[in-house]
Amino acid sequence: MTSEILTIKGVSKRFGGLRALDDVNLNVRQGSVHAIIGPNGAGKSTLLNCLVGRIIPDEGSVTFDGGSLLGHKPHQINQAGIARVFQTPEIFGELSVLENVMIPAFAKRDGAFRINAWRRARERGAVREEAEHILEDLNLSDQRDQIVNSMSRGDKRRLELAMCLVQHPKLLLLDEPTAGMSRADTNNTVDLLKKIAERGITKVIIEHDMHVVFSLAETVSVMAQGTVIAEGSPEEIKASAKVQEAYLGGAHL
């Protein structure tokens, strides 16, 4: 399990005069949980945007599973096996919970485009079953027929996670999955993420909550001002003076 599934080399991105990413290097091992921490505006979300094709870096290379990701469209990147939970949930607000989960399952099964016009989705037994299975795993079964817009924030995040998991991605990107959650919800989510860790999906998780980071991650990278300033095991990061200074200064550890 030492092979690398994701390799980011020398990635830079400018927004006008702002260096949002400045020569970022990052390796993610197959099957690992890799946390990225760092203050607001450090460039963490921007880095994920480079991975899913939302933005194209000015310089550098991103290699995933043996091929370059740069220049590929978001849907191609997803089809290659990367799914992302966004910082603000990107979900289908007007559709039901079950439909929200069935749609990504269809994408996984049928590919980027297929008309299959005449089949009713509810009759697509396999896809529906798969979606219901995931909903059960994530304790969303009761809300199956609910319209997503009317759900609580925490539930929306869990739903987005379900939408990613139903695709069995090779790499799962999580952008602050517990932000804005209550302590209890956070703990639930951590348990959930631990549970899915057993499935061997590689995860990159951006997180502010140190409790979450240190209970999940095997490797932690610290970003500040667009670069990775430190990397190591949670213990090493906790001990690093550089990190303390740059980021953890007043944090509760």
Binding site: H75, I147, Q167
Partner: protein, 406 residues
């Protein structure tokens, strides 16, 4: 969930209380059962075929106007597949309507007066045309997409008047004539040089047969729309409308889905255009003008965007109002107000006359404003509100207040 009036909750095995949960947006029947679908189509078919009876009391029981209801109903149904389902607002759909008419008249001229051939060709040509325009326009979304479609439609309109005159016969419009080859008809020895009307295997499509021909196609179009809405393809369109970004990050290439929707809706427009030519074998470029494109937008919004029945109702209401208000003149107004004193009569006529006759669109505009402000979901939302109110009343009568919380 329900298309309220017609789509029964019971058929779906849910209690009324459940169906009032936030699920009830009235837009989609994605999870509805096939039984309730067939019921819906059956009721729809019955309602359309009996229009001559139940619309007679309001003065719409004659074929000319009823076939307009049917034709523009088809146009709006198709438009709604694009706009209502996927959220892409085309301002150029009249281009496909006009193309359909030209294609149909050409079939009358070249091959046969058989309406099926004409309508089939109209659908194909409009579909190909929609493929071209859609391919380019769908490179953008939102307002830019709308502008692109508008630009293409206006280009088509201008081309029809200028360089394309050999095909469109310019300002005169394309007509059938005695000297047309009409190969198939002549081959079968039909009275070659008699000018005939379009027919359906011998039945001349004038008057009532004309209406029923359009009505049957409307019912088929409605059934097809229902099937599209309930299919996986339909679900993808609704998902694109809801969050196109998520669709991309979920692994879908959204453009082919949108292009398919665009072409399908262009084909509906082509069918409608073909039917216009069937009921009156003449095609002119004004059918492609932007006002005609705007009309179908209004019909759809008036009836209820994204709903199944809304566009059909919106089209009928608009065509009906057009007929009624545009036929009013001062004489009719004087007669309407003849219960008043002559002075008051004059005042009332002066006030109301700008809203009728040529000015009927003023009335339309006012009504449109009222609907958008007070019933943003269109007429269908009105129907839904009423039926929900009625149902609640009924439940309050029947059940103890324990239910009231729902």
């Amino acid at each position: 969930m329900s298309e309220s009036v017609l789509n029964s909750d019971k058929a779906m095995g849910r209690s009324p209380a459940e169906s009032h949960s936030p699920k009830g947006d009235g837009m989609r029947g994605f999870m509805s059962s096939s039984r309730s679908d067939y019921l819906l189509v059956a009721v729809f078919a019955a309602a359309i075929l009996t229009m001559p009876i139940w619309l007679a009391p309001i003065g719409a029981g004659y074929p000319d106007i009823l076939q307009k209801f049917a034709i523009f109903g088809i146009f709006a149904l198709g438009f709604n597949i694009l706009f209502g389902f996927s959220g892409y607002l085309s301002f150029g759909h009249a281009a496909f309507l006009g193309t359909g008419s030209y294609a149909a008249v050409w079939m009358f001229k070249l091959l046969s007066m058989n309406a099926l051939i004409a309508v089939g060709f109209a659908i194909i040509v409009a579909g190909v045309f929609a493929l071209l325009i859609g391919y380019v326009s769908l490179r953008r979304s939102g307002i830019y997409f709308s502008i692109l479609t508008l630009a293409f439609a206006q280009m088509s309109y201008n081309l029809a008047y200028s360089v394309l005159t050999p095909i469109t016969n310019g300002e005169t419009g394309l007509q059938i004539s005695r000297s047309d080859p009409r190969i198939i008809d002549n081959f079968f020895g039909a009275d070659a040089h008699r000018l005939r009307v379009p027919d359906f295997f011998g039945i001349e499509l004038q008057g009532w047969p004309g209406f029923y021909f359009c009505a049957v196609l409307l019912i088929l179009a409605f059934f097809l729309t229902l099937r599209i809405r309930n299919s996986t393809f339909g679900l993808m369109l609704f998902a694109i409308k809801s969050n196109q970004n998520r669709m991309n990050y979920t692994g879908f290439s959204t453009r082919p889905y949108l292009l398919a929707a665009f072409v399908i809706s262009g084909m509906y427009a082509g069918l409608a255009g073909g039917l216009l030519a069937v009921t009156d074998p003449l095609a002119g470029a004004d059918r492609m003008q932007w006002t005609a494109s705007g009309e179908v937008v209004l019909m759809t919004i008036l009836g209820g965007v994204g709903t199944l029945l809304g566009p059909v109702i919106g089209a009928a209401v608009m065509k009906y109002l057009e007929q009624i208000f545009s036929s009013f003149n001062e004489g009719v107004l004087h007669r309407t107000f003849d219960f008043l004193t002559p002075e008051l009569q004059d005042i009332m006529v002066t006030i109301t006359s700008p809203f009728v006759g040529e000015g009927w669109q003023l009335t339309l505009g006012l009504m449109f404003m009222l609907v958008v402000i007070f019933l943003p979901g269109g007429i269908m939302e009105g129907i839904r509100r009423i039926s929900r109110g009625l149902r609640r009343d009924r439940r309050d009568d029947a059940a103890p207040p324990a239910h009231a919380g729902h």
